[in-house]
């Protein structure tokens, strides 16, 4: 469905582009205040240890050290981003639970003194046995990490929808496959930092955050302050991908140090500390069983998962539910069982990384589905087309799907990748393989992270006094994905104004209306809906004003391209500017406001809110790879991504999201993995050894969208940023399988594993011959 829009659908340049290419853009670490101190956090060198004593006297005596704090100097109230399991303290009190757990902090006159001071803090530990393998965390006799959570179980899920036993009994084939995922880390290029300063009772924190609102809420809660006395400001943020969703400790420690010293304090992580703080992708062990008919129709599926949670909950409750809840999105079946344990280990806590809990289970399910197709002698594309979800359907776990063009995506991907030709005998050169995978994701979460009846998004638009510009005030944080730009496009569209004349003030809890933040791919739909309402209110006020100026009824008037004109009489027109100015003179400031709260969504079972959304995106990726049999090296020859993301607001930004998601997904598929030694220390906490893609590694990619319109969304929009990560790992797995005829069952699908799989295959074949 095509809609008549002037600004939506145009690849306007980013509103922050100029600032960012000239170096004018200030990120949190670029902001300096007079009299500012620098602060660092001392972390644990042990994976699991009891704290016997902490002696800060030598550090305090060092010239340039202005304050040293430990758990005795901060509130002992536990926090965390998931209210159901608040299990973190600002500083450890009795025990440290991973290498990197927070023990103390210093504020000094310069950075170098901070590092010297940290070395002078003497902490006596009693080392305890550690849990490093999540698959053994529940075993008898394993050390207990948190007293409150027996057997190290952090989250336990058992859900059944329909009758899975019956489905398997009726199936022609029931197959089980097991897969192991990897710990990946978001690795934004900007390190986390926070600068705190006090003005009397008011605390201001500049922070590299994805959610000023949640930070404000948690800081206020931790210190027993009114939210009105906590101001969180997000300057430019250099990428988040889920890793900047929750308080890091930098805000809490910085706030206390700033209070004690009466000076602004900048706290920051270096690259190693970022890896140690983590909150990246959970490694999951995934066992998937499906029952299918002879024709390949899926009757039911059972997901049986275990997750490495690390030492704390982080966003892991949501991650755990997402892992299973989102699996039935892309294929239709009625019977579904989902079991999961999220386990505490003495490793850095895992959280929400792009696609949240979904990408690894999707990798497992898509790999498994190809195994099923092979057993049935079916083409992987055909088995997906046969089972593809249709619009206006409901998943077994009660997610209502409205728009869904998955079939169109599959069909189109089949054509542009030249799938049928390539799948023929000899259709590709030797060593090549082609794979397909699907994905889907929420366009915003149906429920907030902590229980509240506040709207999820709210905005105000203020038209400048003389009508020559308008400013959008929104709590929505642009962390690089481009929300400042698309929200201004949407506001201008609703007002009948020009994008080029929009200004934006965003993500400052004091000057902007609240917004839950940049996560769950929520801003385009949810904050977009608030922008639409606010823009329409402006337009209504303008048309009323113009009505009295032109002596015509308001419903005969329209405003487009900043011109207000009569629909019935030619030549009767006024400019936006003159009417807006008149409004200010006669009625005061021209302001529009809008807010968005999702409708009640989902079922009534435990955990039912996670995965609900007003709308879901759908997408398909096809990838062609070439395997070097000698070395196991994987070359991505070409990638094709076809997406149903509703109406596109800004095509160039949208394709940029797809490219970025593919590059991150390819990294996780082939190279990325945070590795630990047998003491729980990270072996590769830097960007030389934790390998993200360089420009030379990125494969050629063709990104397309299909015609789609989501009725419940403003202008029919849906998400793109996270869903596009979901198919990639499965796509690589299947393409590599197609190339080699054997499957690697664990991520990353490294050259070494590929080489070994090929070697074992050769040995098996030789064994047969002999």
């Amino acid at each position: 469905m095509s809609i008549n829009t002037k600004i939506i659908g145009r690849s306007v340049p980013r509103i922050d582009g100029r600032d960012k290419v000239t170096g004018a853009a200030k990120y949190t670490g670029d902001i300096k205040f007079p009299n500012m101190l620098f602060g660092k956090i001392l972390t644990s060198p042990h994976a699991h240890a009891r704290i016997i004593s902490i002696d800060t006297s030598a550090a305090e005596a060092l010239p340039g050290v202005k304050a040293v704090i430990t758990h005795k100097d901060v509130p002992d109230i536990k926090y965390g981003i998931s209210p159901a399991r608040w299990d973190e303290n600002i500083f450890c009190i009795d025990k440290v639970r991973f290498v990197g757990d927070k023990v103390a902090a210093v504020a000094c006159t310069d950075e170098e003194t901070c590092y010297k001071a940290l070395k002078l803090i003497k902490v006596e530990y009693e080392i305890l046995p550690a849990v490093l393998d999540f698959r053994k965390a529940m075993d008898e006799g394993m050390p207990q990490i948190h007293d409150e959570y027996p057997k190290n179980i952090n989250v336990e899920i058992h859900q059944e929808f329909g009758d899975i036993e019956k489905a398997f009994k009726e199936a022609h084939l029931v197959r089980t496959d097991a897969f192991l995922g990897n710990r990946a880390y978001q690795s934004p290029i900007e390190p986390h930092s926070a600068t705190s300063l006090w003005d009397g009772d008011k605390l201001t924190v500049y922070s590299s955050t994805q959610s000023p609102h949640y930070f404000q809420y948690y800081i206020a809660r931790e210190f027993g302050m009114d939210m009105g006395n906590v101001r969180v400001v997000k300057p430019y943020v250099g990428g988040g991908f889920g890793g900047k969703m929750e308080p890091t400790g930098l805000e809490f420690a910085g706030a206390v140090l700033a209070k004690l010293t009466g000076r602004p304090v900048r706290m920051f992580f270096d690259r190693h500390e970022m890896f140690a703080h983590n909150r990246g992708r959970h490694a999951q062990y995934m066992e998937i069983t499906t029952g299918v008919t002879k024709d390949g129709k899926i009757l039911g599926a059972h997901s049986n998962f275990m997750m490495d949670g690390g030492a704390y909950t982080s966003l892991g409750i949501a991650t755990a539910y997402y892992a299973g809840a989102l699996l039935p999105l892309t294929y239709e079946f009625d019977h579904y069982k989902f079991d999961l344990f999220r386990l505490y280990t003495n490793l850095p806590a895992c959280g929400a990384q792009r696609g949240h809990g979904a990408p690894q289970p999707k990798y497992a399910f898509e790999s498994h589905l190809d195994n099923v197709a092979t057993e049935l002698g079916m083409d992987p594309m055909d088995i997906r087309l046969l089972n593809a979800r249709r619009p206006e359907t409901v998943t077994p776990n009660d997610f209502a799907i409205h728009s869904c063009e998955l079939t169109q995506c599959l069909t189109r991907a089949r054509i542009i990748s030249n799938w049928d030709e390539k799948k023929k005998e000899g259709g590709m050169p030797k060593g090549h393989g082609i794979g397909v995978s699907t994905g889907s994701f929420v366009s915003g979460a149906g429920y907030p992270i902590y229980r509240t009846d506040l709207p999820h998004s709210a905005v105000v638009i203020k038209v400048n006094e003389d009508g020559t510009s308008a400013t959008l005030y929104t709590g929505a944080p642009d962390i690089g994905q481009g929300s400042d730009t698309v929200l201004c496009q949407m506001a201008a569209e609703a007002m009948g104004f020009h994008y080029e004349k929009m200004k934006i003030i965003a993500a400052d809890t004091e000057t902007c209306p609240m917004d839950l933040g940049a996560y769950a791919s929520r801003l385009t739909l949810m904050t977009g809906a608030a922008c639409k309402a606010a823009g329409e209110e402006i337009k209504k006020s303008l048309l009323e004003m113009a009505s009295s100026m032109l002596h015509l009824p308001p419903d005969d008037l329209e405003c487009e391209d900043a011109i207000i004109y009569s629909k019935s009489r030619e030549g009767k027109a006024l400019t936006f500017q003159e009417v807006a100015r008149k409004h200010f003179v006669l009625k005061g400031p021209l302001i529009g406001k809008g807010s968005y709260t999702p409708p009640k969504l989902g079922g009534k079972f435990k955990g039912s809110p996670v995965g609900t959304s007003p709308a879901y995106s759908f997408g398909v990726q096809v990838g062609e790879v070439k395997i070097d049999e000698e070395t196991g090296e994987i070359e991505a020859v070409g990638f094709w991504d076809v997406h149903d993301c509703g109406t596109v607001v800004n095509p160039r930004l949208l394709h940029g999201q797809v490219h970025g998601a593919l590059s991150m997904g390819m990294g996780e598929s082939v190279w990325e993995e945070v590795l630990f030694d047998d003491k729980g220390k990270i072996k590769n906490p830097d960007l030389a050894n934790y390998r993200i893609l360089t420009a030379l590694d990125m494969p050629p990619v063709e990104s397309e969208i299909v015609d789609s319109y989501e009725d419940i969304a403003p202008w029919g929009v849906k998400e793109i940023g996270e869903g596009s990560t979901n198919p990639t790992m499965g796509c690589f797995s299947n393409a590599i399988y197609d190339a080699m005829g054997v499957r690697v069952y664990s991520l990353p699908l490294s050259y070494e594993k590929v080489w070994r799989a090929l070697k074992e295959k050769r040995e098996r074949e030789q064994g047969k011959k002999e």
Binding site: P13, D16, G23, G29, Q186, D270, L653, A695, M698
Partner: protein, 177 residues
């Protein structure tokens, strides 16, 4: 070079360098890096710090036209050299073609790698005005970007080498090869 010694016996050096055409004299220690001088002494925070290990390329600046990781260059090594940072790329208020092209091609997302990326590209086009796509990728392979998959960055650089700063007309909202 003039030096002074503090009471702990740590030497400070008086360093003269040219940044974006402006002469500067600053006092540094032997272990002060160029990126620290640029960011902390000269307030040129367009030079980013992503890893301080020479892995990410966010702190790329040009020294006599050649791209270097300024976190890996001791400030003292810049004595007498011409340093160009991202603040010195635009001609007054007018963006350079590369900057313009980056904006128009959507080559910028979070923007943290953009200053280093633009400078690496600038150095490339200076020594090789008509690079192949592979040469572009090689030239920016020391600048890590986590957002874009490099697709639009490569397009933006190639466009400038062809005398354009805008993408070819986009035909529909969907197709983009």
């Amino acid at each position: 070079m003039n030096t002074i010694e503090d009471k702990e016996g740590v030497k400070r050096y008086m360093l003269s360098l040219t940044v974006n055409g402006d002469p500067h004299t600053v006092v540094v220690k032997a272990n002060t890096t160029l990126s620290q001088v640029l960011r902390n002494e000269l307030a040129l925070t367009g030079t980013k710090q992503g890893c301080e290990l020479g892995d990410c390329g966010s702190c790329t600046v040009l020294m006599d036209g050649k791209p270097v990781n300024s976190c890996m260059v001791l400030a003292l090594e810049a004595e007498g050299h011409e340093v160009t940072t991202i603040e010195g790329v635009a001609e007054g208020a007018k963006l350079s073609d590369l900057q313009e092209s980056f904006v128009n091609h959507g080559a910028v997302q979070c923007g943290y790698c953009s200053p280093g990326m633009v400078l690496s590209a600038k150095a490339l086009l200076k020594r090789n005005p008509h690079p192949t796509e592979l040469e572009v990728r090689e030239a920016i392979s020391g600048n890590l970007c986590r957002c874009t998959g490099y697709v639009h960055i490569v397009e933006a650089i190639l466009a400038v080498s062809e005398g354009r700063t805008t993408p070819p007309e986009e035909t529909n909202a969907g197709g983009e090869a």
